[in-house]
Symmetry: C2
Subunit: 329 residues, 2 copies
């Protein structure tokens, strides 16, 4: 029901039916998993980006496939979600044939989390790594000015009969959305998340948003974030975070850049029977949880089970607002 | 001269000429770059592992190549260095043909850093990611018992006319070798590096080595470390850190496990001319250093320049010791 409503809202905002369905779906997945910062919280931004004329509302993604294991999808300045959906079956075929394949999405507006994407591959029995630049908001280790994006890095491993092992995190200490939520809630942020625009540590979310966030894990997180800029920016011939920021030029739209996914077919990485290797991976996960540690995404999967059983909790006011946006008010 | 001396020492210890040359070379590279913890500091351990009969001193690595982009090298329980050397030209060919290829090294004893390996690909104009498990010494985030290895993760990007962009770090807060050096120097370690065997934070390097180290960046580093166990352990049909530790069974030898390298040919990832993409990567590096931040490996490359100009500084006593070990005393 929420998916249909979001699709209606997005079509009303100008998106083609295919795009509206693909974009609506990832927002529903966010709400279903209680990932507020990647759910319908993003809707006003997605609509605004259409309104300012940045995003192509009906671009048809073009897939380029050749004899290499690199599949390129030109999103034609549309949202990324549809390009990924269209590339999924091609990537599955490539990965199963060659063991390993790369998906390059170019020229896309990107607002979504990466876990729905790597999870989609894991549900097909494939392992996947995904990364992309964003807007500048993070200083490199030892620096004081925003240059890197929050640059997410995600991974999924298929687990037979269980939710996949999935992580998806910003290479900043936290996602920029977390700081935005603190600002909306008028709550201070912990020290160590960010510096103000003079390079001084701050607990004020507004100052942090005007200054620079810090990378997780000091110079190591900074190195990974730089790798994300290089591989999913310069290498794939698409915009790095500082270039995406310059392209937006203050319009406040969703960022235009590319994305890189590496997809592996575990079957072909060893002559040992795949089920043995899965059993050994399961044994590792058991050893992690047996000592009281949690697997990443556990909270998200628990929220999903709850949503699938009892529906997605949504404020009545929010629902009414969506119905009005869809012209059903 | 040091390379020849190390080769003589290693052959005296029982290694075949090919293995002695390959192992000696990575130790010289460590000394040249002032990476003490991966230089001849490792020599006694490498010799001991031969003495206890764990390592095959003359295994000939077997390369398996097929129509996929996965190249498997069975090191036959020899040291990993020779297998990697032999696989380099095959991997270069695969990557240039398909854009992306994976090298799986199985069944190898592994003591070396990963930066010499990813750098070797970058010197050929290729980008590379490398990872491997090790021995258990790190607790997963939220846990208190060693289960993960220090699990290094490395990356190199080729820079025309300059040293490559390279990082290579342990997914623990520090490398285990750093804690060992603190113990040798009888210096306390900073709080936050490790817990003792009751799960309590400690500054005593000895207690830390008996307890568990912590991952860098909390749950994010822990997630990456677990990915390293899965991809370069279970997925490639080789030992994860806890299995490598069980295999050693207290013998104190170098760990037996596998390694995974992903090698990319940037040329094929975009239709945009490669030199443009390199220029934009260079522009990013300039923006990093212009704000006073450093690129990873800068210290190491500075030491290298110094060594190539003035030779590798080595204590006379150390040199005499090596000559004695080589039977030239």
């Amino acid at each position: 029901e929420l998916a249909a409503l979001l699709e209606a809202v997005l079509m009303k905002a100008g998106l083609s039916e295919d795009h509206a369905r693909a974009v609506g779906r990832v927002m529903v997945e966010g709400e279903r998993d209680d990932c507020r910062s990647h759910g319908i919280y993003r809707l006003p931004w997605v609509i605004k980006s259409l309104a300012v004329g940045k995003v192509s509302p009906d671009a048809v993604p073009l897939l380029h496939e050749n004899e290499t294991v690199i599949v390129r999808a030109d999103a034609g300045k549309g949202y990324s979600c549809l390009a990924l959906e269209m590339a999924l079956p091609v990537m599955e075929r490539k990965a199963r044939q060659f063991g390993l394949a790369a998906l390059v999405i170019n020229n896309c507006f990107h607002f979504s989390a990466l876990w729905p994407e790597v999870e989609a591959f894991a549900r097909r029995g494939l392992a996947a790594i995904a990364m992309n630049p964003s807007y500048i908001s993070v200083a490199p280790a030892g620096g004081s000015k925003p240059l890197l994006g929050t640059n997410p890095f995600a991974f999924a491993w298929p687990r037979p009969g269980a939710h996949p092992y999935v992580f998806d995190f910003a290479t900043s200490v936290v996602a920029r959305g977390e700081i935005e939520l603190h600002r909306l809630d008028e709550k201070p942020i912990p020290l160590g998340w960010a510096v103000d625009d003079h390079g001084k540590p701050t607990t004020d979310p507004g100052e942090a948003l005007r200054g620079a966030m810090l990378t997780f894990g000091g110079h190591k997180g900074s190195a990974i974030s730089t790798m994300v800029e290089i591989l999913s920016g310069a290498m794939i011939g698409d915009l790095m975070s500082h270039e995406a920021t310059a392209y937006d030029n203050g319009a406040g739209a969703v960022p235009l850049h590319g994305e890189l996914l590496l997809v592996m077919s575990p079957e072909l990485f060893s002559a040992e029977p795949l089920e043995n290797r899965h059993s050994r991976a399961e044994d590792l996960f058991a050893r992690i949880t047996d000592q009281g540690a949690r697997l990443p995404s556990e909270r998200r999967f628990a929220a999903r089970e709850e949503s699938l059983k009892n529906g997605i909790p949504l404020l009545t006011a929010k629902l009414a607002e969506l119905r009005e946006l869809a012209g059903q008010g």
